[in-house]
Amino acid sequence: MSIYEEISANKRKSSLLIFCFLVFALFLGYLIGFFYGNQYFGLILAIIFGGIYFLISYYGGASAILTMTKAREAKKPEFTHLINTVEGLSIAAGLPKVPKVYVIDDSALNAFATGRNPEHAAITVTTGLLHKMNKLELEGVLAHEMSHIKNYDIRVMMLAAVMVGLTVLLSDFLLRSFLWGGKGGKRENNQLTLILIIAGIALAVLSPFIGEMIKLAISRKREFLADASGALLTRYPKGLADALRKIKGDPDPLVDHANKATAHLFISMPFRHDGKTSMMQNLFATHPPLEERIKKLEGM
């Protein structure tokens, strides 16, 4: 698959994600309207709220993700080397604009890119990654992220995180507040509680399907593709291969502020690598095993 086909496939997938989301919103709106005896009211409500939520996630999704992961902007002179490397790689990739650079204060080794298009993109790395990787390895990781930007992977991943992922988080939240909630038995507003419980259960039932959707949108192939085009940028596949090996051997792969909504963004799953994954994490296994990726890089 050429990069141009990849780009148009990603744009198509983004539109599909938006479409599915709006259909879902309309369906929900219809249901709500049905219970209140006026379907049109529900549908209009869904169009308004769904539309607003779409606009917010499209234009503000990247900032939302950066806030969620507690990323802060990297500045000179503290991160001169990081910024210089990103600038160099964006020249090599022929990007129209240098992406913004962010860091997460976390000892885990991880990185991600986000944004709606190459003109509005951001690259984030953990400070742990900066400390533990050498120049070539860091370059490899950043080139991988740069390829996600160039291929428009970032748009699909951002929309998946904000639109679909938040639905999952919401169901988690609703169910949890139902199970442990009402501290002190404050349950007067029965009707509202009931609606929330039903919504929570509905979302919980749906969340495996939503997980499947994320997996469909974020095919494992894209990680291989980003590895390969990253290697084309640095002309040095060993850099990324070494970096992935370091990530694999790291005992602390967890990023504190990663969650189910943002997990697929990272260069490696921000959960445990030791195979003892929970069912929920398996459901969201959007990354091919590191071992396989290293092998491919070394075969180049």
Partner: protein
């Protein structure tokens, strides 16, 4: 008769559309190479501006290695004049000269600890790798452009509209080799 004319007409339109498409793609590719070249130029200029600061910073320390500093100054002035081939050559000379300055600096602990020098070194090595990346992007763009001009039937059109192929920006010896990528 009508149908023959119609077919001829459709064929003419198709050919015309194809010519327009090819022409536009040539223009697009050529613009990309120009843009890529200006990226190199920006970074060369940046390094050009940084060098006097570096010379200023190390002058006081390197009393016995005057020739190293002279080399870099000479290479720097060669960068101003000349076309791409001369610029490529001068750029490679500067790279070499800078390398020797930083190598010599290793034996001056005080210089190495100097805040100003450290920042300059980081900036210069950053610029150095940006030049390498810009050159890579430029050469990739030139390759795509030249290829489009040379394959059939683009070569006929290229001759007709006098598109000429471009030169690569020569790399120094020991450059990283291209990698083979298969999906």
């Amino acid at each position: 008769m009508v149908s023959t004319n119609l077919i001829l007409g459709i064929a003419a339109v198709v050919v015309l559309l194809f010519v327009v498409y090819l022409y536009n793609s040539f223009i697009r590719l050529r613009m990309r190479t120009n843009n890529a070249w200006s990226q190199i130029d920006v970074q060369l200029k940046r390094r050009y501006d940084l060098i006097p600061n570096l010379v200023e910073a190390v002058k006081g320390y390197m009393k016995h290695e005057k020739s190293v500093l002279e080399n870099v100054t000479k290479a720097r002035s060669a960068l101003v004049s000349g076309g791409m081939v001369e610029k490529a050559k001068a750029s490679n000379q500067i790279t070499q000269a800078l390398k020797s300055i930083f190598a010599v600096a290793e034996s001056y602990p005080q210089l190495k600890a100097n805040e100003n020098f450290m920042q300059l070194q980081e900036e210069l090595s950053g610029t150095e790798s940006k030049i390498a990346y810009a050159r890579q992007f430029y050469n990739d763009s030139v390759m795509a452009y030249n290829e489009a001009l040379q394959v059939f039937p683009g070569n006929l059109l290229a001759k007709l509209f006098s598109f000429t192929s471009k030169d690569f920006f020569a790399a120094e010896a020991g450059e990283r080799k291209n990698v083979k990528v298969s999906f």
